[in-house]
Symmetry: C2
Subunit: 183 residues, 2 copies
DNA sequence: ACCTGAACACCGTTCAAGT
DNA sequence: ACCTGAACACCGTTCAAGT
């Protein structure tokens, strides 16, 4: 006798994402996800192959949101202003979703990593700006320099690694200004 | 009747570091550490308060080695060449110790994070170069820009996040060149 | 003073049995 | 076709008992 699903993959991903956001990857247990969606742990395996596969789905969900946040900005007057706008949008997203942002570049086992398609969508905005700043044939290197700086900055900020005083917001603006003029 | 220790904190930290290096933080279990040093899991608690405290000791050990790697270079001809030398030493360290490098800026719970003293020792080399490049009163911002870029770059590299082709070594040298001229 | 076995409350995952 | 309880092999940690 077929029975209707009592939950869904979407609901499971959303519940898992909330758990990661609230308590990091350690808080993502199949038991807790099951309790959240109102089912017993073994039932989750009818919707998702494993905890690792669930992590992958959560990361892809977050990366898609990041891509939307980076694309959903007006066009600024100069490439330098555009760089400032994406950089600030990037940092804002990380601060608004610290728990799940960290997952994006976390050193996960190969099989749990996001599909490249999602990361490439999130790279589009920076690539466009890099081409405007450094020229088409240097755009990939410039984009990697910008992205590395932006990710490194927010990763260190989220890890509370800026412990020598000073104004962290000001250091971020300093980075924007000097990268905009670097290429 | 007092009995002599069959292991030590140093041995436990070394065993834990090797486990993290080989299999990431997930591989660091008290059971495996105990088996490596030849003792039962409960005995570890005579030498280390908890798994979290062990993680902290491992991170501090790694950060000390990183500081030594960054300091153990000759002085180059120009500040720009010095920047290249530390940056390459930084990246080399990360590639030689990928599993434990990732721990340094990992989003660990507050109580497991390295003591600031260790991180500050590792910051010394970059701060000196930043002062030479950007001037004393901009040295902190410049050091944060450089460190963010370097960490972001190797973090993305270790996470296999550069998936759009191109030469990654060349992108790193591109970053060095343009940061050296940015301040 | 350190080590041990037993125990507790958790995990991820499998599987046969229910509906 | 999905859900469940029972089970297995793991975890971190505590604690009384050994030496």
């Amino acid at each position: 006798v077929p029975t209707p699903s009592r939950t869904s993959r979407e609901e499971i991903v959303a519940a898992g994402r909330a758990l990661v956001e609230a308590g990091g990857l350690d808080a993502l247990t199949m038991h807790r996800v099951a309790a959240t969606v109102g089912v017993r742990p073994p039932s989750l395996y009818k919707h998702v192959p494993s905890r690792g596969a669930l992590i992958k789905l959560i990361v892809e969900d977050v990366v898609d949101d990041l891509a939307a946040a980076l694309d959903g900005r007006g066009r600024a007057a100069t490439p330098g202003d555009d760089l400032g706008a994406v950089a600030r949008a990037f940092r804002l997203f990380a601060k608004q979703h610290p728990g799940t942002y960290r997952l994006i570049f976390a050193p996960l086992p190969e099989e749990w990593r996001a599909d490249p398609v999602h990361l490439m969508a999130a790279s589009r905005a920076v690539l466009t700006i890099a081409a405007a700043l450094a020229g088409q044939d240097r755009s990939l290197e410039a984009a990697r320099t910008i992205t590395a700086w932006a990710h490194g900055f927010v990763a260190m900020e989220l890890a509370d690694a800026f412990r020598m005083g000073g104004d962290v917001d000001q250091a971020f603006e300093f980075g924007i200004d000097h990268l905009a003029g670097a290429f």
